[in-house]
Amino acid sequence: MGDFQPFEQDFYQSGYYIDDQELGINFDHIWQKTLTVLNPFKPADGSIMNETDLTGPVLFCVALGVTLMMAGKAHFGYVYGLSATACIGMYVLLSLMSSLAVSYGCVASVLGYCLLPMVGVSAVAVFCSLQGFLGTVLAVLGISWCSLSASKIFISTMAMEGQQLLVAYPCALLYGLFALLTVF
């Protein structure tokens, strides 16, 4: 262990090194994409989805499962089955609607990232039951937040114009199913 010379990090290669082996997880990028999701009104950059990574989405899915479990519902099978079916359906729809080629990893990645507000809603469900008026309002808010940011990222990545609401509607259906799992 001699010299600690600073090595130049290319932006896309600022990976996480353990034992001099790169894990391939880029925390910078995950954080950037999360920030994009959290602010649904800021227009998204079309290039953020250039490399698709599934680390963030898998993390969020596991977090959703954990919060659901803490609220007393062990619905892991439904979460996984639902997300797989919905990803496939969304991929088919987007490949038919857009003129550019779509990849399945991109769709799964975007949908997984935009699951973050739903994780927040189910975290609230741990502490107080959502089966009331306030719970419905919160669920609707979460759904619209998720679907707006998902459609925003899809629109900017695939350069579809005039179709944001059309893309947001199936996303809202999907996140509505997750909300149903959370609330009931």
Partner: protein
């Protein structure tokens, strides 16, 4: 060979997309026989035009499907000045006719194998880089089967140690892509399906308004552009598949929700609902197809059009179920009645233009049993919608 004789008579009657799908095998098969084999002896300008004509007839998009075969070494479009408006390929000053020039700069289109071995290194490395850059904006390899095929073909050529591309490679590439497209189109008509999903928000809004209130709309004709119907984006009267698909899924969810609020919510209900609704839909489309076949009416309604029309009634059903959930039973029946009437009128006005002859569609009285049969057919198709609407198993 049989297809060649069928062409002249059918082509006039159906100037449709079905013509191209029957044309493709013929073109692909003649490509192996007649002109492609001896193209090396043709002058290069007509080679390029012939290849482009072939690509056009095969509906192979040269920019998207053939260019990635050659990566950055193929910077020239097949005819100078055309094509590739979307991609940022700069137009070079070299035409394809200069195939006898050497390829030191690597931006050569192709040259003869019998030619001089000129500048192989630059060409080869360009091709390698081009092949890697040929993926569409960093999508994964599983994305687009056409570009996968193109890349596989290109890399198979590169792995053979070939240093530059020839006309034969271009021909083979186009041929492979054409055959692949023919095979794919036999199973799933993807290009046809894409037409039905070319919608935007304004169209969807107007169409939903039409489905619920069709009484004020006057012009129900679908506009055409050189024998092909205009995309739904530009014409409210054109059928689409986005609304039926979304309406079907929403109906399954909402109906499951309605049934679930009476009992406890369980996800198995959703599966049952989805399957039964799907079965209803398929049976209805089959019945309409059968009746159209029996009446032997000459129409340009495709199966997908019928699917779209059958799917439009789910919008009314959703309105009914939602208002029933919100406002109780009387609201459910009232809104169901309104939506049944609306979809009945909508179907009649839409199908009238497609099934009846022009004279009857304009409203003049036309005698003849044939037209009466068509009128009955239209009415029964339109009438089937509300009946299956109200016969749906909810509440």
């Amino acid at each position: 060979m049989i297809r060649q004789h069928q062409f002249p008579s059918r082509q006039k009657a159906q100037a449709q997309t079905t013509a191209t799908t029957t044309m493709l095998p013929m073109v692909a098969s003649t490509a192996t026989h007649s002109q492609m084999v001896s193209l090396d002896t043709f002058p290069s300008s007509s080679v390029s035009e012939g290849l482009e004509q072939l690509a056009l007839r095969l509906e192979v998009d040269v920019c998207r499907d053939v260019l990635p075969l050659y990566g950055e070494s193929m910077k020239a479009p097949l005819t100078a000045g055309k094509c590739c408006q979307e991609t940022k390929v700069e137009e070079p000053n070299m035409r394809m006719g200069n195939s006898s020039m050497d390829g030191t700069d690597g931006s050569q289109l192709f040259e003869d194998t019998s030619g001089v071995a000129a500048g192989p290194q630059a060409g080869y490395s360009n091709q390698q880089a081009g092949l890697q850059a040929a993926g569409f904006s960093g999508q994964s390899l599983l994305s687009d089967p056409m570009s996968n095929l193109a890349m596989a073909y290109g890399s198979s050529l590169a792995s053979q140690g070939r240093k530059w591309w020839t006309r034969m490679d271009l021909q083979n590439g186009v041929k492979r892509l054409a055959i692949y497209k023919v095979k794919l189109d036999r199973f799933i008509p993807i290009s046809k399906l894409k037409y039905y999903f070319a919608v935007d928000t304004v169209y969807v809004g107007k169409k939903l308004g039409l489905l619920v209130f069709p009484y004020m709309h006057e012009n129900w004709e679908v506009s055409y552009q050189q024998d092909t119907p205009v995309a739904p984006r530009f014409d409210v009267n054109a059928p689409d598949l986005y609304i039926p698909a979304m309406a079907f899924i929403t109906y399954v969810l909402v109906a499951g929700l309605a049934l679930g609020t009476q009992n406890k919510f369980s996800p198995e209900l959703l599966g049952v609902q989805a399957s039964s609704a799907l079965v209803w839909l398929i049976m209805e489309v089959l019945a309409v197809l059968l009746s159209l076949y029996l009446v032997t009416v000459n129409t340009d309604l495709t199966t997908i059009d019928l699917l779209a029309f059958s799917g439009y009634k789910y919008v009314g059903m959703i309105v009914g179920v939602v208002s029933g959930l919100l406002f109780g039973r009387p609201a459910y029946y009232l809104s169901l009645l309104w939506c049944c009437a609306a979809i009945f009128v909508f179907m009649i006005r839409t199908l009238r233009l497609k099934l009846l002859s022009e004279a009857a569609a304009e409203g003049r009285q036309v005698r003849g049993s044939r037209n009466q049969l068509r009128m009955y057919l239209t009415m029964s198709i339109a009438g089937a919608q509300p009946s299956s609407c109200s016969g749906s198993p909810t509440t």
